[in-house]
């Protein structure tokens, strides 16, 4: 444990690695057919797009430049923004194609006290699929906003349900869309392996989701599967209360055959379904996986121009633990520094520390929680990487530190500025191979 030294309060943040609550517009945009409406100043959602959509992910209809926005002016700040919001919603419903509209109110609306729910209620009463989420930036970051928006959609759109549950149907909650830059690939891999193991999967976000029709079936699922260290716990607890729906919390995204197989067995066991299909699937996947690993071993064991060993991770909790664990447990790289940047609430930090203290047998690393880029860079620069080539799994902001340490920098966490991300995943069976490719391509000079 770090010594408790009384020092001046820290509040400055340089090189921000998360956005604010209204960044949850991208949670909405990740649902097929859902359209965010920003009840905020100009600039608000535009700025979030720059960060949360980093890695040049682009976006579909309704997001990016398309997002309907009230674009507060002085007039709205002085006289209130509800009149303009009303006109915005009315015209958005005529102009923008959508199955579900989500009004997100920002700082200006919050501070002047706009009564947004009553405007939205008017359109709900007319039969439109529209909900409201209060997400001013001063209330929290985009991870907080993500949970608020999901709960708003569940409460105001999915609604009450008292019917039967379907034994094989599960809701999957995992990384935050767009913010976890590989989300589309991750969601595809998670859905693929869970279906392979015999489940029907509500993946809820991304290209493989059934959009709002799928969201309507959330209450019918046998349980919620949360694959994330802490983001989403609020959601699954809310669902437990609302629909009497249990949840299985697996804090670490599985990377590689051993972790993924263990993951699937845990889920099958929790569900209490027959494991024949799952085991068959696992056997097939494992065979394929190790064929690649066997080939890779020829390179890994005899490449004599140097590959990294000691590495530092600077990332959000979700990707930070997943990749650190894989490299430590399955490759034998040595984690010497972990900096978690997404400001997890205090109550979750002990369990996060625990994950990093049990990365693999005999492998443990302490966690530093830092949000300010300046302090992150100081900490990195003071890290001893030994005699191998230093490796940093980080963000675009680690460029200076990487240059100072002559380190290989792979941008895996938001913001990412030197990778163009489409269908990419570093998790599961297939994603682990891609992660190996990415790390070692970098190591051989790619």
């Amino acid at each position: 444990m770090a010594e408790k030294v009384k020092k001046r309060k820290e509040s400055t943040i340089a090189h921000s690695r998360y956005g604010c609550a209204i960044g949850a517009a991208y949670t909405v945009a990740a649902i097929n057919g859902a359209v965010p409406i920003s009840h905020a100043s100009p600039g608000c959602v535009d700025k979030q797009y720059a960060l949360i959509g980093s890695g040049y992910q682009g976006c579909g209809n309704g997001a990016g430049g398309d997002t309907p926005s009230v674009n507060f002016g002085e007039n709205e700040v002085v006289f209130g923004g509800v009149k303009k919001l009303d006109a915005e919603i009315q015209s958005a419903l005529k102009i923008v194609k959508g199955d579900l509209f989500v009004v997100l109110s920002g700082c200006s609306a919050g501070l002047i006290g706009d009564d947004v729910p009553s405007v939205v209620k008017k359109y709900q009463n007319q039969g439109y699929n529209i909900v409201h989420a209060d997400v001013p930036g001063f209330k929290g970051n985009n991870l907080y906003g993500h949970e608020v928006v999901v709960k708003a959609i569940i409460d105001q759109f999915v609604g009450d349900y008292r019917g039967k549950k379907r034994k094989k149907l599960i809701n999957v909650w995992t990384g935050v869309p767009y913010y976890n830059s590989n989300w589309r690939g991750d969601y595809i891999e998670l859905k693929r392996i869970l279906e392979g193991a015999g489940f029907d999967v509500n993946i809820l976000f991304g290209p493989q989701s059934g959009g709002i029709e799928e969201w309507k079936t959330i209450p019918k699922a046998a349980f919620n599967l949360l694959v994330s260290p802490w983001v989403g716990l609020d959601i699954v607890k809310h669902l437990e209360e609302k629909y009497n729906q249990p949840y299985l919390h697996i804090p670490v995204l599985p990377v590689g055959e051993e972790a993924t197989t263990e993951f699937l067995r845990k889920v099958v066991d929790f569900a209490g379904i027959d494991n024949t299909k799952a085991e068959k699937f696992i056997a097939k996947e494992a065979k394929e996986y190790y064929s690649f690993i066997e080939h890779f071993a020829k390179f890994f064991s005899e490449y004599w121009f140097g590959i990294p060993s000691r590495f530092a991770t600077v990332a959000d909790t979700t990707y930070g633990i997943a990749y650190t664990k894989f490299l430590a447990d399955q490759i034998g790289f040595i984690p010497i520094k972990v900096i978690i940047t997404d400001n997890p609430p205090e109550k979750y930090r002990e369990s996060i520390n625990d994950l990093f203290h049990h990365l693999s047998e005999g492998v443990s690393v302490d966690v530093e929680y830092i949000e300010d880029g300046y302090n992150i860079e100081q900490s990195l620069v003071n890290t001893d990487f030994g005699s191998s080539i230093p490796l940093i799994l980080g963000t675009a902001w680690e460029g200076d530190a990487a240059r100072a340490k002559k380190a290989l920098l792979i941008q895996v966490s938001t913001p990412i500025e030197n990778e163009v991300i489409l269908n990419r995943s570093f998790i599961g069976y297939k994603g682990a191979l891609t992660l190996i490719e990415r790390v070692f391509t970098k190591a051989v000079g790619g």
Binding site: V35, S38, G43, Q48, L51, S91, V96
Partner: protein
Amino acid sequence: MGKKTINLSMSECNNREMRIGSIISWDGKASELVEASNYEQRSRHEKKHGCNGGGGKACQLCELNMPFSQQTMCANAIVACQIGNLTDCILIEHAPIGCSANNIKYNISFNIGLARRGKAPQTVNILNTNLLENDMVFGASDKLRRTIDDAYNRYHPKAIFISMSCSTAIIGEDIDSIADEKEAEIGIPVVPLHCEGFRSKHWSTGFDISQHGVARQIVNKNPVKQKDLINIVALWGTDYFTDLLKPLGLRVNYLLDMASYDELHQASEAVATATFCHTLGSYLATALEEHYDVPQVNAPQPYGIPATDEWLRAIAKIVGKEEITEKYIESEHKRIQPKIDELREKLKGLKGAVFTGSAYAHGLICVLRELGIEVQGSIVFHHDPVYDSGQDRQNSLKYLVDNYGDVEYFTVSKTQPFQVYNILQRMETDFIIIRHGGLAPVAAKLGVPSLPMGDEHFPLGYDGIIRLGNVILDIVARHKFDDVLSRHTTLGYTDWWLSQKDPFILAHNPDIINEPIHELNGGKYDG
């Protein structure tokens, strides 16, 4: 020196819409907008009632009032991309963290810009005070003081700027007093910038605010003239101005992006100020002229051959290099003409459209037409009926219309993708030139490729015509991608909207919004 229009004794600068009557929503022919703008009368700051009236404060051009809008940039973001891209000064964003979310974007532009200007790479250092709910209730002045100390102790900057956000403006943070207090304490300029996003209807006010702060607190108040120095107000463009101005014996002082404190400081010592875009440069150029006797170049922007000639001649006159400049112009004409002729042949029959910032679009259309490319339409993100300078030869839209003819479909619209469909339906174009986000993806889905003009200086001067002609050949080839896209994707708008011919129908006929659209949307059939 005449009456000063720019008041540097105030920390705030007036919004563009109040100062020069800028608008963000208009549709018609370019010639009609020239007439309605009434540049000349406005430039004399005569008071007159009515729409076409002179530059009285509240007098506005008639503007279309749309009930619907999509997200745009804000003035606070512009300040980040201006002041945040100085090499040895620090910008503090006094705001919740979300206001700094775009810093990464400006880190990319900064480093590309540094490379273009031959400067060493460096990471953008913008600090955020990270305001939370408690700060909204109890105030955040101490956090700001702390971050100013952090900025000073960490980076030892030459100056510190503070930008206001929507939330700090609403809760009434007194950044002026804190700036004064800290400036006295640490002994470097601390500059407050009143750029909250809701403040102006157009983000370009953010340029003015940034320049206001620089002119007021950074520029040398006791200048010693540097007879070979010319200010160019620019963004991140490649350094083509040096070559263009070398025959006149001038060194270029680029303002503001990628500039150092010293480069800003010496702005008052230059012999003249020019720019690649009056939308961007006019405020600072006018401030330097009125307060430091640095003349601005009263000429069209240097796009196309005749405008570049005139621009060079105007500078030559200021620095007394007329003779050598005439020879230079003559030799440049000879050098480029064969290349332009060749390009005109290759580009024959092509049509293009320009969707960019205001004065810049005027210049780009000149260059396209110089290359023989037909331009039927344009979207500009706002329109300034007059620039701060009020100089007659800077009336860039009039210059375009007078010298290259009218633009049939001239639209003023602040990056509204939903209108791009209707706008492209009424014109023919093989490609669009764009800046800012949101518009090109719509065009792409309609099979129209785009040239994102990230290097602002690319089309300027004599060689710019050739550069632009060549790159357009590359861009039109990309319709292959857009054709694939158009075959397999759809636009995110209702059939009702896509059936509208008029992109401003909701302003021209406000009642139409109450009529049913006869289709299913938002889970309800509206019939």
